[in-house]
């Protein structure tokens, strides 16, 4: 792990020193969204509603993929899914 910098070494005003891609916010979650591909109609409502952009449609695979590195487990996808194809689970993915 790299040494954290002192106050003289960092940019002012909290300017980000690295891209948000480097901050794995997925470990914040308590509940984990689990897909049920049988029920999924590929309406992609979950993709649109995810506030973190953590759900993507993969045309090559013909299905949605959840990026658990960034999913914070808010449950909006499960709530919005019209076919109840996503359920929130206390279990780890």
């Amino acid at each position: 792990m790299s040494r954290e910098k002192g106050w003289k070494e960092i940019a002012p005003a909290g300017v980000c020193s690295k891209s948000s891609v480097g901050f794995m916010t997925g470990d914040w979650k308590t509940y984990t969204p689990i897909r049920d591909l049988e029920k999924c109609t590929l309406c992609l409502a979950c993709v649109m509603f995810c506030p973190d952009g953590a759900i993507r449609f993969r045309p090559d695979l013909g299905r949605i993929e959840i990026d658990y590195s960034f999913c914070k487990g808010c449950g909006i996808c499960a709530n919005e899914c019209p076919t109840k194809a996503i359920k929130m689970s206390l279990e780890q993915e």
Partner: protein, 410 residues
């Protein structure tokens, strides 16, 4: 000293003087919400906008919180932003004051100092900006409309200095200054514009590892002030403290340069001393009260009393060394506070002046006067009595009341 720039004498009240200075300072964005006794500032400025006299985007917001948020956003893009407020308006900005200073946005704000509710009171005291003491803004208080004009022009240079990059409040006493007509000398538009110049942006390292000007720019994306938790927040706050320390020198430097241009100066820009060299009794005040106190010092001096005055112009950053060296030989000192720190055993200015003198080899006996709350008038007779009290303490060596209330009915 080089010959001062040619100036024009015009009659303006304090608020108009502030608006006139802002007009000459090439401001890109003004976002504001009206509140007495500041309203004239933005009212006058909106006239300049309507008449096409300035190239400024004027944003009418739904609240002071939004006004400052808009100024911060404008400033973050590299624009020059100005606003004005007072009392409840400044209090509503409270959250954004910290965000603005934390984002190191050099927004300039005039505060026409006014009492805070309740009970509701529109008149002048300094409770509003004193309550924002720790918000990370530079605070300079002025004595008259002339100084209000001069200080606004200087404010942009101070705030935008690469070693400072902090927002600044210029405080002028509500009504006493904001609504009182005064003859003052103003620079030509050209001379003022040359002095203020264009905003200089320091370079910062972004998340892409590029060194770019410190502004929001789609070509060079950066994120300002998003989140810093236990691992970095403290470091950013320490940077702000350093910027405040740097401001001490920058305030003096800009003030001296302006004095060269106009022939006008206010002490060293941080404190103004009046007959303090050999003073045995002295008063410290903030704001317009010093005008009256100077005439009292004059009359006491004629009577052979070694009386002096110190006006604290910069309250943040606190000019610790300057205060200590100016006051250490005074025997008895009164500090005047036009605001209260309830339960704090005296006012904020008193606390800080006492703090500064604690480490001096010799220091005066120090007492505190709370005065002028809610615009309560303070007559020359009452202010004269303060010096009489100090003489009495000097003779008896005995302090009867550490904290007194001037002009309060028992």
């Amino acid at each position: 000293m080089a010959e001062a720039s040619k100036q024009e004498r015009i009659a303006l009240n304090g608020d108009e003087a502030v608006a006139y200075a802002a007009k000459q300072s090439d401001v890109d964005v003004v976002a504001a919400y009206p509140i007495t006794p500041q309203t004239i500032i933005v009212e006058k400025f909106s006239e300049y906008v309507a008449n096409g006299e300035v190239q400024t985007a004027f944003v009418c917001t739904e609240s002071e919180h939004s006004a400052l948020a808009a100024c911060l956003a404008a400033s973050a893009t590299g624009a020059r932003a100005f606003t004005a407020s007072a009392s409840a308006g400044l209090a509503l900005m409270h959250e954004m004051l910290f965000v603005t200073s934390g984002c190191r946005a050099p927004v300039v704000m005039a505060v026409a100092n006014r009492a805070l509710s309740a009970p509701l009171n529109i008149h002048g005291d300094q409770s509003d900006s004193m309550a924002e003491r720790d918000s990370g803004w530079i605070q300079i208080y002025v004595e008259n409309a002339q100084e209000a004009y001069d200080s606004i022009i200087q404010a942009f240079r101070i705030a935008e200095d690469a070693n400072v990059s902090l927002p600044i409040i210029i405080g002028l006493d509500g009504f006493t200054l904001s609504h009182t007509l005064e003859n003052l000398d103003v620079l030509s538009d050209d001379a003022a514009a040359r002095f203020v110049g264009t905003r200089q942006l320091p370079n910062v390292l972004t998340h892409e590892g590029k060194s770019v000007p410190f502004k929001l720019d789609p070509e060079n994306p950066m994120t300002m002030g998003p989140i810093a938790l236990t691992n970095y927040y403290f470091e950013f706050k320490r940077q702000q403290e350093e910027a405040m320390k740097n401001a001490l020198e920058v305030i003096q430097k800009v003030h001296a340069e302006y004095a060269e241009l106009t022939g006008r100066s206010y002490g060293d820009g941080l404190i103004e001393q009046y007959h303090l060299e050999d003073a045995e009794i002295a008063v410290v005040c903030v704001g317009s009260t010093s005008g009256t106190l100077k005439t009292i010092v004059d009359s006491l001096r004629q009577e052979g009393v070694k009386a002096g005055l110190l006006r604290l112009r910069a309250f943040r950053p606190l000019p610790v060394e300057a205060l200590r060296s100016a006051l250490r030989n005074v025997k008895v000192l009164a500090v005047m506070d036009k605001s209260m720190s309830f339960g704090g055993d005296g006012g904020a200015v008193y606390h800080e002046v006492r703090h500064v003198l604690y480490d001096a080899e010799t220091h005066p006996v120090i007492v505190n006067y709370i005065y002028g709350l809610g615009g309560r008038d303070y007559s020359p007779r009452e202010l004269h009595q303060v010096y009489e009290d100090l003489l009495q303490i000097s003779k008896s060596g005995h302090v009867e009341k550490q904290v007194s209330y001037l002009g309060l009915r028992e």
